[in-house]
Assembly symmetry: C2
Homo-oligomer: 319 residues x 2
């Protein structure tokens, strides 16, 4: 394979000059530049970027860790990250983890081995200690409230958000309120449970464990939720559903089975996806694309910042 | 930074031995292995994978080119690719292109510069010549019928599929048939248009240009389609809709506006997403995750293969 020395020999210039031409450095005479370009063409030389990275210590690649790339929540985050990455000439390395810690480790391992410059963790299964051990190897950015840790983060305050939605339902007269989430573990869901308990205590409402339904991610999970609820002796009158996809599935099931919304069951979705608008679902607007943009910018910034993203309850027909 | 020679010196072994330990080669005495591992630990040495790649000529990274990572069609393809990549210890570099040729070029450029081993092109804006010029730099796999070109491909025969769906509608008595697509250019859509024209000619039906509606990708586009149709003097009686998302948007709009399906308008969706099942939409099943798996396996295989994927019309309530 032709290397930079061969090029210098063929073009009859110094190695420094070849290097300057390869890196678009201005201080090269036009004559020498042409000679180098001709040598590059004649030898079919390709600058080996791995070698360039090796010398510069930068890869211009960012790892993105997310559990499911086909879920609208994560694919909108990813879209925001990807658009900003392209603008800034960065590439993304995708780690679709299915919440397997081992797959998250692969991203951290790549960071450690300098194959990527930073890691954006959209959601994780690993405990914080594992992440923390890799902080010295490069930038790690998370999508959860981490203001007390030494990382950058872009996040929604899920405690505050849940409390706001619960109080909204309470103000409308609902007291038997349940909620649907993706998984019970995870720092976001722990914040939600905390808000739920605090809300229940504040209003002297009784905590019903079966009102918390997990494993709710996709449209088709809406049917599963409704079958559970219909099997309850004392079903909830209202549900917070942390994904518009699932909320849409619930609304569709209720429609097909003549369950009146919101009279028999009130629904508040999350994310404000287009499907929520079209199905007239009351929801919490979360600016996912903007969050993705922010996560990317934090991943390439030297500063450490924590951006809380503002949410908004959008009242429509289901609550 | 510590390099492999430093490690050899510290551990008092040969460079070859250090290299063997780093690569888990079996022929190293336990004593020497321990010495090298101790040196690695003491110097906080991280094997620089960029350097390893440089010597092996392999990156274990595959580029994936797709226009939108947030569209269910592409996110399901991506899921199939990503799951198989993880099984095989490969990483994915994501190129979300918005159908900009320049962004597709970035992937081809990375292939040329040996930063990735292969490129999977799920859909493209660039013409074939551009792709062809990069075939010598590494494996390129496409998701379109390319049996006559020198690439591997996994594809649906969109001509055959469209014809089957059109004949199905014709057998049910529909003659004024339109269709909705993402974009009019692109080899898949050209195959569809060809099938549409052949079908029209065969049955002596008149070709109506306004029955072909493009820019249809998301749920919310269903509303746009219906507004166009309601503005037509002679609207179509049936629609092939090349995305279940859009089909679901159309069905929702019709439901909200008291347009009877299939009596006033018959609908056939594409992909067989969960939303099609729940909304009882007649659709064409396309095994997108399996296609993703096949694309990945082709990307890492030395052989050149062309896999036609079999589709299936699933009759439900909308046609």
């Amino acid at each position: 394979m032709t290397n930079i020395k061969d090029l210098a020999k063929i073009a009859r210039v110094s190695v420094t000059t070849v290097s300057r031409v390869l890196n678009n450095h201005p201080y090269v005479s036009e004559e020498k530049r042409m000679a180098v370009l001709k040598a590059i063409k004649d030898t079919n030389y390709n600058k080996n970027i791995n070698a360039v990275h090796l010398s510069k210590g930068k890869t211009l690649m960012i790892g993105v860790v997310l559990p499911y790339s086909d879920h609208p929540y994560f694919s909108l985050l990813l879209k925001g990250i990807a658009n900003e990455a392209l603008k800034n000439n960065y590439k993304l390395v995708l780690f679709q983890t299915d919440y397997l810690e081992q797959r998250e480790m692969e991203a951290l391992e790549m960071l450690k081995q300098k194959q990527i410059d930073s890691v954006i963790i959209c959601s994780r299964a690993s405990d914080w200690k594992t992440i923390e051990e890799h902080l010295s190897f490069g930038k790690i950015v998370v999508c959860e409230n981490m203001t007390e840790r030494h990382v950058s983060s872009t996040y929604v305050d899920h405690y505050k958000t849940f409390l706001e939605a619960l109080e909204f339902l309470f103000s409308k007269g609902y007291e038997k309120i349940g909620y649907c989430i993706g998984r019970k573990t995870g720092s976001n869901s722990l914040a939600r449970e905390c808000a739920y308990r605090d809300f229940m205590n504040k209003h002297n409402l009784s905590y019903t464990a079966e009102y918390i339904i997990d494993d709710c991610l996709y449209f088709e999970d809406g049917e599963k939720v409704m079958k559970k609820i219909r099997g309850m002796v004392e079903p909830p009158e209202a549900l917070l559903v942390t994904s518009d996809q699932v909320a849409a599935g619930i609304v569709t099931y209720c429609h097909n089975n003549h369950i009146a919304i919101p009279d028999e069951l009130a629904i508040i979705g999350f994310d404000n996806e287009p499907i929520a608008k079209l199905m007239n679902i009351t929801t919490i607007h979360i600016p996912l694309e903007d969050m993705g943009k922010s996560l990317f910018l934090q991943a390439v910034s030297k500063e450490r910042t924590n951006n809380e993203v503002m949410i908004k309850l959008i009242e429509r027909g289901t609550a």
